[in-house]
């Protein structure tokens, strides 16, 4: 049973129009650059993308927006790009905004086989519209459901032949959660190592959750807000 595939094109070969995708990353940090490029090349349409953000005009999910491949975004914060705004205002693109912690926890619930959880985020706001409210110990919570995504596309720092993944610094963000949540999980890694080279004590996502893995290439790793201090 070999999980290693040669490249992103092969890894995403069976992603079809109308698929529901999860894409890891926070802003442009830790996004699956290779898989996104392959999706753009393949030209699949009508995608639902669950991703905390929607990239910028010429990078990340923004590249898929440019080609009008996205039908719906499920995110906590979007609109860092002009094309996104244009499509949203023209009605070409649907957007569902949900709190960031709710987004993360709905991913985790999927990966943990928990169909629904309760969170206080959004109680009393328009996010609560149509949702079940329940009081526990004097505090109100919303019932939120686990996501059900066809594919999860994640980017890790290191991965091995068994699909075990390790993420680096804050590029971890949503990646492990989505890796655990996808019905089929595709991981691209900066460094693919043979089985047994990663310390089993330091694995962030055990390989059981990962179906395909490939050595990524040409990472740009663009910085969205370069901020420095004087020495």
């Amino acid at each position: 049973m070999n999980k290693i595939v040669d490249n992103a094109e092969i890894a995403i070969h069976d992603i079809k129009d109308d698929a529901i995708l999860m894409l890891g990353g926070f802003g442009l940090c830790g996004i699956p650059e290779n898989s996104i490029a392959a999706l753009v090349k393949k030209g699949v349409k009508n995608l639902t993308c669950i991703s905390n953000n929607a990239g910028v005009d010429d990078f990340g999910i923004g590249l898929m927006l440019q080609k009008k491949q996205v039908k719906k975004m499920i995110s906590s914060y979007v609109g860092e790009n002009a094309e996104f705004e244009r499509q949203l205002l023209s009605g070409e693109l649907e957007v569902e905004l949900i709190p960031q912690g709710t987004l993360a926890t709905r991913c985790m619930a999927a990966g943990y086989g928990i169909p629904a959880i309760f969170t206080p985020a959004g109680v009393g706001t328009e996010v609560a519209t149509g949702k079940e409210v329940r009081n526990f110990n004097g505090k109100d919570y919303l019932l939120e459901f686990a996501f059900d995504a066809d594919f999860a596309l994640v980017k890790a720092w290191k991965g091995d032949a068994d699909g075990n993944l390790i993420f680096k610094a804050t590029a971890r963000n949503f990646n492990p959660l989505m890796a655990m949540a996808g019905k089929i999980t595709i991981a691209e890694v900066e460094e693919l190592v043979p089985s047994g080279e990663l310390d089993p004590n330091n694995i962030h996502v055990p390989g059981i959750y990962v179906h395909r893995i490939f050595q990524g290439k040409n990472y740009e790793k663009r910085i969205e807000q370069r901020t420095v201090r004087k020495s």
Partner: protein, 219 residues
């Protein structure tokens, strides 16, 4: 004289206690990190998945894999830890973060907050703000007392879509420090040279003024 943004941050920094875990929002709240009092050790949480956030990197040391919730390049301090976003909001919901500082467009005298959406304008999303205000025990709002048109941002009820209800404990503006009580905004301190009358004029929500109101001290 009204406080500068830096001074608002400086005043909020006085609320920090040794050992606090603190989440600072984007804008004025971020500046609070520059005024942490001597001898007070606080650990900064960034909700994308980091405890122990340090200052911005030196030029050339930026790492694309090391950013804060505002997507700015940052560094880490000794004792830091990285984790995923579910654990990050897990510790927030579980009340492990001692203090949350964030900006607002409006605050009501019951402690409701609106800071994510202006109807008719492009909506970018709530990010982690709804999770933070729904979960934190101790939330301070840092904002200007009035909007650019001069209208009060401290209202009887928010007019904008809410981010959270009955959650704000304290507000530090450019002219006043206020506590949210069951009776409304309790005026605690005023900016140096700013009169109680001016604060009354600029506060639409219920304002409680008990006795002499001291000027804000920064040290």
């Amino acid at each position: 004289m009204a406080l500068t943004k830096e001074q608002i941050a400086q005043r909020i920094a006085k609320e920090l206690k040794d050992g606090y875990y603190v989440n600072l929002g984007i804008g004025i709240p971020t500046l609070v990190a520059n005024y942490i009092p001597e001898g007070v050790n606080v650990v900064l949480q960034s909700e994308n998945g980091l405890l122990g956030m340090g200052p911005f990197p030196l030029e050339g040391d930026e790492d694309a894999d090391m950013i804060n919730a505002g997507k700015q390049t940052i560094t880490t301090l000794p004792g830091s830890a990285f984790f995923d976003s579910a654990m990050s909001f897990g510790m927030i919901r579980a009340g492990k973060v001692d203090l949350t500082v964030l900006g607002a467009m409006e605050v009501s005298d019951q402690g409701d907050i609106a800071n994510w959406k202006i109807p008719g304008k492009m909506v970018k999303g709530m990010g982690g703000a709804m999770d933070l205000v729904a979960s934190a025990q101790n939330i301070i709002v840092a904002m200007m007392h009035t909007n650019p048109k001069g209208a009060s941002k401290l209202l009887p009820a928010c007019t904008l879509p809410l981010t959270g209800v009955k959650c704000i404990k304290k507000i530090v503006t450019d002219i006043a420090v206020l506590e949210v009580t069951p009776q409304g905004f309790m005026l605690l301190e005023r900016a140096p040279g700013v009169s109680v009358e001016e604060i009354k004029e600029k506060t639409t929500g219920r304002l409680i003024v008990n006795g002499e109101i001291p000027e804000i001290q920064f040290v």
